[in-house]
Structure formats: structure tokens, C-alpha cells
């Protein structure tokens, strides 16, 4: 139909994450999220360019996964209440989204299958019945309102850049915390698996660095770019 979305195969961050979890046949919890964190980071790295409106969503999910992963590597890492909230929130969203995706399969099967038709318009001879509101002035004002409410092209790059930059700070900060935490808790590691654990953490930090670079390039791509957005307008149509 009409108004087809140009990238029908486009996947949002929750979509990506859910697919990764389901591919491994895992349940949604912090353990499975820690397992797929690297896959997710690798995936958004390959995206190169994030879909325009949703770059911040992708990066925000990434930063929550980084937290989860960090915590799983370094159980001693202290998380703030807000960070714990972010983690619980991500799990919750994934559960709801999963449910909705399951339900949408049923909707798709039913949609258009057995339609209840609205009756055709009853044939009535029109009787010219204007009202007092119909004047040139009010009609031209009404059309101006319509024009004003058309979805507009707006310059919104700055907002996104700021968001992405603050996320970059956040990842920088996290990297530092993880690094510090390794130094502090190094003695916690048992001698036997010290080498492998350190290896895991180092490669994880390298991954973070890559993501950070990705974020920087995202923020640069945005610079000075025009972004088309619809603004939600006020005024409720009355029928």
C-alpha cells in the first residue's frame, strides 16, 4: 500500500537484541543479556550508520548492555540505583516487546481475512445547509492551520549530537570504572583462571573502545545535517 516504509526490514534495537537472545534459545534475564552483549555491540558496529531517529535508542541499549556485561565480569563493580533501574527496565521492555511480537503474528493472520464492511453511504439528496462559521476569513484561517500542522522539516541534528556525546562520556566513564575495578579486584581472581578472565575483560574493553569510536563517527555524521521530523500538533479532530 501507500505510505510504505522505505526500509521494511529495518530492525530496532530491541528487535536486534531479542533476535540474539532467541537465536541462542535463552530466557530474558541479566545472564542472557550479558551473554549477547558482545554480539549486540558487534552488530551495531556493522550498522555503520544508525537509522536517523533511533541512533540514540541503539546506543542507549548498548550502554545498558555494557553495564550488565561489566557487572557479570566484575561482580564487585558497584552499580548506582539508576543503573540497576536501567537494567531492570531493559529486561522488562524486552519481555513486553516479545509478547507484542508474538501477538502480532495472530493479528497478521486475521487482518483482512473476514472483514465486517461498513455500509455504503446511504443515498440522500443533499440539501444545501451551510452554517455561520463558513466565511472566507474562517476558511482561509482553517487552511492556514492545516498548513501549519503539516509535518515539518526541522533542524534537529544538534539535539541528537548532544545525546550521543553524553553517551560517549558515559562509555568513557564506564571504561574507566571497569579498568579501576580490575586493578582493585585483581586479587579476587583465583590463580587458575586469572589469565583467561583478564583476557575476557581486555577484549571487552577493546570492544567498548570500538563502540566509542562508532559513537564518535555517528555524532560527526550528524553534524550540520538536515533531519526531517514530524512534530505532534495540538488540536483534536472532532467527528
Amino acid at each position: 500500500m501507500t505510505f510504505t516504509v522505505r526500509q521494511p526490514s529495518f530492525e530496532g534495537p530491541l528487535d536486534v537484541l531479542l533476535n540474539l537472545i532467541e537465536k541462542r534459545k535463552l530466557f530474558i534475564n541479566d545472564i542472557s543479556l550479558a551473554k549477547v552483549a558482545d554480539d549486540y555491540l558487534a552488530h551495531i558496529k556493522t550498522l555503520g550508520q544508525f537509522p536517523l531517529h533511533d541512533s540514540a535508542n541503539f546506543v542507549l541499549v548498548a550502554s545498558t548492555l555494557v553495564l550488565i556485561k561489566s557487572k557479570s565480569l566484575l561482580p564487585g563493580l558497584e552499580l548506582t540505583t539508576e543503573e540497576q533501574g536501567d537494567i531492570a527496565d531493559l529486561e522488562k521492555r524486552l519481555k513486553i516487546y516479545k509478547k507484542i511480537k508474538e501477538l502480532s503474528v495472530g493479528i497478521k493472520e486475521r487482518f483482512g481475512r473476514q472483514i465486517s464492511f461498513e455500509p455504503e453511504q446511504r443515498k440522500i439528496d443533499p440539501i444545501f445547509s451551510p452554517d455561520a462559521s463558513m466565511t472566507i476569513t474562517s476558511l482561509s484561517a482553517a487552511v492556514s492551520d492545516v498548513l501549519k500542522n503539516l509535518p515539518k522539516k526541522e533542524f534537529l541534528a544538534k539535539v541528537i549530537v548532544e545525546k550521543v556525546m553524553s553517551l560517549e562520556d558515559m562509555i568513557n566513564h564506564l571504561t574507566k570504572r571497569v579498568t579501576d575495578s580490575i586493578r582493585m579486584s585483581f586479587k579476587e581472581f583465583s590463580k587458575n583462571d586469572r589469565a583467561s578472565k583478564v583476557h575476557v575483560i581486555v577484549s571487552f574493553l577493546a570492544m567498548l573502545e570500538l563502540v566509542k569510536q562508532g559513537i564518535i563517527s555517528v555524532s560527526q555524521e550528524r553534524h550540520g545535517e538536515d533531519i526531517v521530523m514530524e512534530t505532534e500538533y495540538l488540536g483534536v479532530p472532532k467527528y
Binding site: 501507500t2 522505505r6 461498513e118 455504503e120 444545501f128 445547509s129 451551510p130 462559521s133 476558511l139 472532532k238
Partner: protein
């Protein structure tokens, strides 16, 4: 589904007289079968709000005669009810941009205008004409009565006529991000319901 139920569905949907021959063809039944189904339907509709009207070889569903007074009152109300902001908006789009399809009106307004257009039609403020580019759909334009009521003799006497038209046309032909432009495919879901 019984034959009389199917016939009821079609007559309800159409609300116009249909011949028995046509019904027989639609359902791939004999005229006899259609006639006896009609008799059953007639009985089922007894003492209901809708009744079956049979005249010569045609049948139609109509509101029961007892409801006549009520319907007349409602019809009058339809003609005098407040058009509201949405009604005025839709009327202004038809005025400035007509002849225009319902799909384009919907696209410009960002909402579905089905019922509003119906009211504007009944009130003789807009009229439907065939769409030269698509036989299955219609275009809407202002009536002469409306133009003379608001006191213009030519449509381009409307304030900012040219620039408003230009702006709407541009909007209809440029895609919003993630959407195809309206002019590409002249079909709409609810248009056909």
C-alpha cells in the same frame, strides 16, 4: 452462513434496491432459491428496526416505517449540527485544493476524513466527481452553492490561493521520512470500505 443471511449482508451493505436476478447471480443460486430465502428473511425481520421492501422484481432493506418520524428528525439534525474544527478544516482543503481525492485530504490532515466528508456531501457543501485517473475512486470539489454563499465568483479569489495550493501540492509530492509520497499510489484502505 445461510442464503438469507448472505442476502441480508448484501442488502444492508448496499441499501439500494437489487433485483432478484442479480442476487441469484451473485450467490450462484436459482431465482426460486433466492425468493424463498427472501421470504424467510422477511419473517425474521418482522417487528425489527429494518424491514424488507419488495417491489416488482426488486428488493431492498429500509428502516421500518414506524421509525419514519424518528429518522426525519435525525436527518434534520445532520444538516444543522456544528461542523467543528475538523469539518471546517476539511472543507477548506476541498475549497483550496479541489478537485482532490479523499486519500490526499487524509494525507494532508494526518487523519481519516471519511465521516466528515459524508457530512459535507449531505449538506451540499462539497460534491463528488469521478476521478479521471482512477475509475474506482472519486474527487471532491466545492459546490457552486458554497462558493456563492461565501461570496466568491471564481475560486482564485480566495486569499493566498496560489501559494496555499502550491504548498499543499509540494507536501503531497514530497515524502515524509519513511513514507512514500501520496501521489504514487492512489488507493486507500478505508476509501473502499
Amino acid at each position: 452462513m445461510t442464503l438469507e443471511a448472505k442476502i441480508e449482508a448484501v442488502l444492508f451493505w448496499k441499501a439500494e434496491p437489487v433485483t432478484v436476478v442479480r442476487l441469484a447471480k451473485i450467490f450462484n443460486e436459482t431465482e426460486e432459491a433466492v425468493k424463498s430465502a427472501l421470504t424467510i428473511l422477511e419473517e425474521k425481520l418482522h417487528s425489527r428496526g429494518v424491514s424488507l421492501l419488495r417491489k416488482d422484481d426488486e428488493v431492498a432493506l429500509r428502516t421500518a416505517p414506524e421509525a419514519g418520524g424518528l429518522i426525519e428528525t435525525l436527518a434534520k439534525e445532520e444538516l444543522t449540527k456544528d461542523l467543528g474544527k475538523a469539518g471546517l478544516e476539511t472543507l477548506s482543503i476541498v475549497l483550496y485544493q479541489g478537485p482532490i481525492s479523499r486519500r490526499e485530504i487524509d494525507y494532508v490532515r494526518g487523519v481519516n476524513s471519511n465521516f466528515i466528508l459524508r457530512n459535507l456531501l449531505v449538506r451540499g457543501l462539497v460534491e463528488k466527481v469521478e476521478n479521471p485517473r482512477d475509475q474506482r475512486s472519486f474527487l471532491y470539489r466545492p459546490t457552486f452553492d458554497l462558493l456563492s454563499f461565501i461570496g466568491i465568483s471564481k475560486i482564485d479569489e480566495l486569499p493566498q490561493y496560489a501559494s496555499v495550493r502550491q504548498e499543499i501540492a509540494t507536501f503531497n509530492s514530497t515524502p515524509i521520512e519513511g513514507e512514500a509520497p501520496v501521489s504514487e499510489e492512489p488507493t486507500s484502505v478505508t476509501e473502499s470500505i
